[in-house]
């Protein structure tokens, strides 16, 4: 499917979703409540078969945090980008997709470690790189007087 067809296909799954025609890929803005069900359908529907999660990145958008999922189908070779945002900054929570794509296990731990987004239903949500005394360094309001020099 090309970009437009993909957009239509996703509309057919859930007409409320906001489709953005990005420069490279079809981008879908998903509310965090619908994320897991959409991801499941994208993976399992015959015509989509997004079986390969090739990138999962956490982003600090300022007032809230978000996660971007890059999905690819190894059969049809089409790509879709799911973007979701948490409702708050203090206790951000999202559904884990590690039951759909096992690679999400490590990726979500990384996002939890660096941005502090908690993934519900994750099998083993521990910090990955840093120990528990650290803050969440990829957040924009992270302060480290020793290592980060602000001009």
């Amino acid at each position: 499917m090309d970009k437009i067809q993909l957009g239509e296909f996703i509309k057919s799954i859930d007409p409320d979703l906001e489709i953005k025609d990005g420069k490279q890929f079809t981008e879908v803005l998903v509310p965090s409540s619908k994320l897991h069900s959409l991801a499941t359908q994208l993976k399992e529907k015959e015509e989509a078969q997004f079986d390969y999660l090739f990138c999962l990145s956490g982003v600090d958008y300022g007032h809230d945090l978000g996660v971007v999922y890059h999905l690819r189908s190894t059969i049809f070779n089409h790509v879709v980008v799911l973007k979701t945002r948490t409702s708050e900054r203090e206790n951000p929570q999202l559904d884990s997709v590690s039951d759909l794509w096992k690679t999400a296990d490590f990726h979500e731990r990384e996002v939890y470690d660096l941005l502090g987004i908690k993934f519900t239903n994750h099998p083993d949500l521990r910090r990955l790189f840093l120990d528990n005394s650290w803050g969440f360094p990829l957040r924009k309001d992270y302060v480290d007087d020793i290592n980060i020099v602000t001009k």
Binding site: G22, V59, V68, T74, T103, D105
Partner: protein, 374 residues
Amino acid sequence: MEEKVKNITTDEQQEYVINMGPQHPSTHGVLRLVVSLKGEIVKNVQPHIGYIHRGIEKMCESITYPQIIHLTDRMDYLSAHINNEAVCLSVEKALEVDIPDRVKVIRTIMSELTRIQSHQLWWASFGMDLGGLTCFFYGLRDREKILDIFEETCGSRMIVSYNCPGGLMYDIHPNFQKRVKDFIKYFRKILPEYDQLLTGNVIFHERSKGIGKLSLKDAISYGITGPSGRASGFSCDVRKHEPYSAYDRIIFKEILFTEGDTYHRYVARIEEMWESMNIIEQLIDNIPDGPFAVKMKPIIKLPEGEYYQRVETARGELGVYIISDGNKNPYRVKFRSPNFVNLSVLNQIASGFKIADLVAIGGSLDLVIPDIDR
């Protein structure tokens, strides 16, 4: 009293937990594996990483795009050139700059040389993991020759920083073509020697065949790319699927196997060295004339938006995801590093094998620790 005896004989009590690393000869760096053993059999492997986490993604947010090049070098230091290419390509794509053919061809040749030298070092250390210490010196001997070529052209041997947004830092050295051709001629003769020393060895076959099987389904689900993924039949060669630089104009085949065990991960890399030599031979005589770089603005500002660029490093698919807010610094940079993802499968494929197999499997995944930690 009886209860006490019972407690001791439960499975939990019989587990023998050892720490492999952070300083261990076969983890190739500061990777720590907490291995639960039952006798010699591995029950569970938990990787503990982050010993050299430098926060490259955070650092990128406060520096300019040309400066990022010097950090990506230090991620997967064996694929330094290819990492740089990923960042350059995404910057060029964002600015919609047309890159001269000469640059594309030189980048491709350098990438393939990088791939060969990376696989040489992998072969060397993989042999050592299995106890064949001589392999290490054979591999390094030939790798020196490529590093010498790099030194002549880039001024540096490993952390080359040869790419820059818009082209290359400097033109190739006048000797470059001759030396590369000499190397190809030399290495075509020497590569069968690798097979004689290790590939054909009975002990090696016994140690690697059927060990650490990774099914195609798991490979895709875990996102295992590079030679490790292709050994399982996962067609994931970015050079084929999304050609960048000069890969669209050359003929090469994607090495695919279906078995997915340690042996085929090994053979996939050996075959890739042959394939890389083919690619270089197609290009080395046809380097077009022209400028070696496009004049870029002194301060590069990417238009607002999101850019994703994939390249095929020696270990798999490297993704660079840049979110730009229009400033000279990126808003967010994410590196989807192949080693980080490849490490996640270790527990899945190493459980149930012996501890010696864990070392072999770890070696066959070809992990580079700075790329995992970033």
